[in-house]
């Protein structure tokens, strides 16, 4: 498959991700083209027409996001590369940062040029310490080569990139939580309005783009929107880096045009289920997205196709579970994650996540009662739509999907007063 955009360089034997290697593959030609030949509006137009949608989870059209930044503001503007990759099941941005850091940097510099921003940040999760070091080195290389700093490539555009490490909080992947954290505060998401494009970091217009999203920009600039739009499906253009983990023989990253089926990814790419067990459940888009049953895996892995069957592409973190897996335990595992990561700011999430965890914990350990199952579903309904940020849904959806789709297994736990799959 030659249609790779993100992993094209890194999968070549001997490719180190150094500036030299990157340039040998045509790296920074898009920056030269953008700064030399293209106006900001032209680039926005190009990206809009390419159909590129955010790769962080929400799938918001990238060009449109940029266009919300006011053109005539005396304020500074900021761009933040969201490298907080924390959605369980997702590990693509880390690979980009380790194996081809200049790819996302080039995208970041072009995007900053588009919104006329002179300082941008990479907000990287704190655990990625070595990855942050790699980025710092790559930034140095780019500075020395004149791709960053004052008067980049003689264009008159000045730009600096700083790496900002988080310190252990999933919620900082949410764009306003991220902005708060960048400002040195706890990562409590903001209420909107105002939206970041008008009032984001340090009170200034701000764009937050995911690492993989930015890594697509050089391709679009180099090859034109049509080349990008011709890949993938309608309303889901380009490629996607799918992350497969869990009970498969060959877990890892697989880049394909959007629209490849989940079945192909699991059985063709990842070589099927470990020990040739049967598939029981699969989460298609990172832990927050509703789980699917084996009957649903013919779904195409793009935004609309997954939405049609009640799930979402999210971050394309695919977690595969075989038939030895206890669904109550898996659900409890995620529920613990969300209870641990709830920022505690708003009522439904702060109280609801812990409540669901406690009920699931009881069911898994034989203390469940018959009305607990409907209560769980009601709690998910009560959280959804009533929180400050999308974390409410992120924590509620998986529980609702697990309980709904594997209800009999939950009921069995309650009836037998123990985990029915425990060895």
């Amino acid at each position: 498959m030659n249609n790779k955009i993100i992993m094209k360089n890194m999968e070549q034997p001997g490719y180190t991700g150094s500036l030299k290697d990157y340039e040998a593959e045509g790296g920074y030609s898009a920056l030269k083209k953008a700064l030399g030949e293209m106006s900001q509006d032209a680039i926005i137009e190009e990206v809009k027409k390419s159909g590129l949608r955010g790769r962080g989870g929400a799938g918001f059209p990238t060009g449109m996001k940029w266009s919300f930044v006011p053109k005539d503001t005396p304020k500074a503007r900021y761009l933040i590369n969201n490298a907080d990759e924390s959605e369980p099941g997702t590990f693509k941005d880390r690979a980009i940062m380790i194996r081809d850091p200049h790819l996302t940097l080039e995208g970041q510099i072009i995007s900053s040029y588009v919104i006329k921003c002179n300082v941008s940040y990479i907000y990287i999760r704190g655990e990625f310490y070595r990855e942050a070091e790699i980025l710092e080195r790559a930034i140095k290389e780019a500075e020395n080569a004149g791709y960053l700093g004052d008067n980049i490539l003689g264009s008159g555009f000045d730009h600096r990139i700083y790496v900002h490490r988080g310190a252990g909080a999933y919620i900082c992947g949410e764009e306003t939580g991220l902005i708060e954290s960048l400002e040195g505060k706890r990562g409590w998401p903001r209420i909107k309005p105002p939206f970041p494009a008008l009032e984001g970091a340090f009170g200034c217009p701000t764009v937050v783009n995911n690492t993989e999203t930015l890594a697509n920009i050089p391709f679009i600039i180099n090859n034109g929107y049509a080349a990008f739009a011709s890949i993938g499906v309608e309303r889901g253009t380009g490629t996607k880096v799918y992350c497969i983990s869990g009970h498969v023989k060959k877990p890892g990253l697989y880049e394909f045009p959007m629209g490849i089926t989940l079945k192909e990814l699991i059985y063709d790419c990842a070589d099927g289920i470990r020990d040739d067990n049967n598939l029981k459940a699969v989460i298609p888009g990172g832990a927050s997205m509703p789980v699917l049953t084996p009957g649903e895996i013919d779904v195409k892995m793009d935004f609309d196709s997954l939405a049609k069957i009640g799930s979402h592409l999210g971050s394309a973190g695919i977690i595969v579970m075989d038939d030895k897996t206890c669904m109550v335990d898996a659900c409890l595992n995620l529920s613990k994650f969300y209870a641990h990561e709830s920022c505690g700011q708003c009522t439904p999430c702060r109280e609801g996540m812990g409540w669901m965890k406690s009920i699931l914990d009881r069911i898994e350990h034989g203390q469940g009662e018959p009305d607990d199952i409907d209560l769980l579903l009601e709690i998910t309904n009560n959280i959804e739509g009533r929180t400050i940020c999308a974390f409410g849904e992120a924590g509620a959806w998986p529980v609702r999907a697990f309980v709904t789709k594997f209800r009999s297994e939950f009921e069995e736990h309650v009836k037998q007063k123990k985990c029915v799959l425990a060895a």
Partner: protein
């Protein structure tokens, strides 16, 4: 014990301030510097950092207590952080924790008596494709097996015995 950055760290701190339009924005990186130099974020460290950043002690406390990577108590030389979120859990994170518990003789949240190892269970580390995974200090260890862990821990323990003052990560 009075807490103060060395000249070298102060220089790093000044460098941080240049990156942001506000002083407060440097709080997280400054706290990382403090944790690197002092081992953990004590009340004295909070006081000191508050002074550097023009924050009230309560504000710094508010920030520190939000983030799981800031330690409020003294940790072992090697802080083992075992991921136990779904992908790692599916591939045996619980066994790894149990194994480390018996090997080190401590439970998650505890530090060995010789202050060599602390054991923590942490949420998703973003290394799901190479699960099960863990970190020791700032380094990732992935596609773990119990055998791999044994060798790793033994090597770290020997290294510590031979060179107790050795700093920095083990490759």
């Amino acid at each position: 014990m009075s807490v103060e950055f060395s000249q070298k760290t102060l220089h790093e701190f000044e460098g941080l301030l240049d990156r942001y339009p506000t002083r407060k924005a440097a709080s997280i990186p400054t706290l990382f510097l403090a944790q690197r130099d002092f081992g953990y974020i004590s009340n004295e460290v909070i006081e000191y950092v508050s002074g550097l950043l023009d924050l009230t002690v309560a504000e710094t406390n508010n920030i520190v207590s939000f983030y799981s990577m800031f330690y409020r108590e003294k940790m072992g030389k090697h802080v083992i952080q075992v991921c136990h979120t779904l992908s790692c859990s599916l591939l045996g994170a619980a066994n790894i924790v149990d194994h480390l518990k018996s090997k080190l003789g401590i439970s998650p949240g505890e530090t060995t008596l010789d202050n060599q190892f602390s054991l923590l269970k942490v949420e998703c580390l973003g290394a799901c494709g190479t699960a099960p995974a863990m970190r020791i200090n700032d380094d990732y260890y992935e596609s773990l097996t119990l055998d791999k862990i044994d060798k790793l821990i033994d090597r770290l323990a020997v290294k510590s015995v031979n060179n107790p003052s050795a700093e920095g990560p083990v490759q």
